[in-house]
């Protein structure tokens, strides 16, 4: 593989001689994607997928351990001297030469997404974390399936759709794909071609703010009437939903109790609960500091507002990068509203707020 690092025998021989970061320095002079143990990926191709959305085809080095369709990956880029990490869904299929694709939609004032969409060039290097996420396919899928995608929620579902298509579409699959405007739709040509070619795949495009609609497009949001019409056999379906938190909550309310199986991932951070007033004291045991922070915010934002930079990834409670042990105090999950008064070994800072004073291993 062109971006492989030194073979492991060489690694073992070099270990006592050279520190990994020194090895990385010299390796990167020879090839920007080489590293002792970090998963680096070079940008091979950059193509515009829709308005404000690009697909990046990346060639990782051998330290990237692969992925399953439907999974996500933490991507790290250096912007103005600072390394930023955000989670993106892998949109392609596992490829024999190891290359992967992510599709990025530019968010207003989003530093990372703007960098990836507008400034990143072919040949640039990004760092990847290991793939994660449970919204994957079983070994042999059966029964009818429904994918509910809104906005950039299409990205993991596109990978799953491609995986089923590559497998000869072994199940009936209905994809309902929402966007505000037609220009924002990703993978449109491929999806329409698949729907035309594959009788077991049904596609419904839904545009909420477009005035003139094409033959295969419909207006409207997700509701019971639409669902009854497009998915009459919901009771026998497995439903995967992905999109902004509000959309996912609607999908859960409409289908979770009725469908055969329901799984969802929300792509926006939880809202700040401003109804929770006051401040709490957080003891950071590893650094020997105590801070006073507002109780209504996620712990990650609250700590960052104090100038700390805890490790983090997705900021929405799925990648676990920010998880740290809590030894005392009560927290509330901002997604579910559940409170937890027990000590835990991995509290996700990005989706939990403090209800009381806390002790964290940070």
């Amino acid at each position: 593989m062109s971006t492989a690092t030194a073979p492991s025998v060489v690694s073992r021989l070099l270990q006592p001689l050279i520190a990994p970061h020194v090895f990385d320095f010299w390796a990167s002079r020879l090839h920007p994607g080489w590293s002792w143990r970090r998963a680096l990926a070079r940008v091979l191709e950059r193509r515009v997928e829709a308005r404000d959305a690009v697909t990046l085809v990346l060639q990782p080095n051998r330290h990237f351990a692969g992925f399953e369709p439907g999974q996500h990956v933490n991507v790290t880029a250096e912007i103005d001297g600072v390394r930023l990490t955000r989670s993106y869904s892998l949109t392609g299929l596992p490829h024999p030469d190891g290359r992967v694709s992510i599709t990025v939609r530019r968010v207003d004032n989003g530093r990372m997404s703007t960098h990836l969409c507008q400034r990143l060039r072919v040949g640039d290097v990004l760092e990847l974390g290991p793939a994660y996420g449970e919204m994957t396919l079983p070994p042999s899928p059966s029964g009818p399936w429904v994918f509910l995608a809104a906005g950039s929620g299409i990205t993991p579902l596109m990978s799953l759709t491609r995986a089923l298509a590559a497998d000869g579409m072994p199940v009936d699959l209905t994809l309902l794909y929402w966007a505000r405007h037609r220009a924002e739709l990703c993978f449109l040509r491929e999806l329409r071609a698949l729907a035309a070619r594959e009788p077991r795949f049904r596609l419904q495009i839904l545009l909420t703010r477009e005035t003139e609609l094409l033959a295969d497009e419909r207006p409207g949001r997700l509701d019971a009437a639409l669902l009854a019409q497009r998915v009459p056999n919901l009771e026998s379906c497995q439903v995967y939903a992905c999109g902004p938190a509000g959309f996912v909550n609607d999908a859960r309310a409409l289908t979770a109790s009725r469908a055969r199986r329901f799984h969802a991932e929300a792509f926006t951070p939880p809202p700040v609960r401003s109804d929770v007033a006051g401040t709490v004291r957080i003891e950071l045991r590893a650094s020997g500091r105590t801070l006073e922070v507002p109780a209504g915010q996620s712990l990650l934002s609250a700590l960052e507002a104090q100038g700390l930079t805890p490790a983090h990834g997705c900021r929405m409670g799925i990648c676990n990068t920010c998880a740290c042990a809590k030894t005392a105090g009560t927290t509330q999950d901002l997604h579910s509203g559940e409170t937890c008064a027990e000590p835990v070994s991995a509290l996700r800072l990005c989706v939990n707020r403090a209800c009381t004073d806390l002790s964290l291993d940070l």
Binding site: F25, R38, E78, D80, G81, V82, T309
Partner: protein, 361 residues
Amino acid sequence: MTTATLNRPLSADELQRFGAELDALRARHLADLGAADARYIRRIVKAVRYTEAAGRALLFLGLFPPAWVLGTLLLSLSKILENMELGHNVMHGQYDWMRDPTLDGKTYEWDIVGTSDNWRKTHNFKHHTYTNVRGMDDDIGYGLLRLFPEQKWKPFYLAQPLIAVIFALLFQWGVAIQELRIGRWWYGKMSGAELARNFAPVGRKMRRQLIKDYVVFPLLAGPFFLPVLLGNLVANGLRNLWTYMIIFCGHFTADAETFPKSVVENETRGQWYLRQLRGSSNLEGGPLFHLLSGNLSHQIEHHLFPDIPARRYAEMAPVVRDICARYGQHYNTGSLAGQFGQVIWRILRHAFPSQPRTAWA
């Protein structure tokens, strides 16, 4: 002249404003950190790596005397840059905002026999928090030398002019064992088992450094084993002498003050800044000199703002100096020769019994 007459006593209100002005300077620079600082520290990394590679390559031609001399000097330069401008500053967390794992203050490991973990404890925490507080800052004489009349005299100190020279030559070993506090074991305040436990990581680091410089690279040179070994020994020695000189000039000049433990109780931000200022002294010189000192030539600025990238100290210095002038505080600076001369005088003078002239007000 004593420092008491150099410094105007400040009222609580003045101290508060003094601290606020320094806080404002700090905030201005923190807000401005970015690509230029990242580029700078990467250039330093590059300089460290290339000078090391060139130095070691030249040493492989070590039978040719000019190559040996140049190779040794380049390797010394690499080690000095790595220890001072790169390692010391990175370990302060000056570049943590970049979130680059290779420049992470908590995990960086430097090219000397001491472990970074021990350094982060004795230096970053104890020395920088309790700067020049007697009994709390282990850097006052390093438990080996009597540099201030407030330290209790013992006959042992009569030998310190000689001990100071040996300490300078072996400075990296002194740094390596400082946190082990062997004295406590010697006087029976620490068990042998505890010392052995604390020594384990230090021993591993020492072994790694010794194998690298005195076994692996000499062996790689084949027939030039001896010149390479000697070159590495001299390079480590030159680095020891240079760092010793710079570091001693930082807190042991004539006007540098030490403080009793009581000062740290209920110390305000303004008082903390003032203590850092009065305990530190700067060195004057050009950009290259500042670089080679790891910007510890700006010891005052470093002690006021230890977590701000050191490349900014030169820009901060005139502002700090102006603030000091307006609040009637002495800004201790001078040439390397002048400041180090004062350090040597302290080493010689306080080998003999001496009395403090004025109490710190």
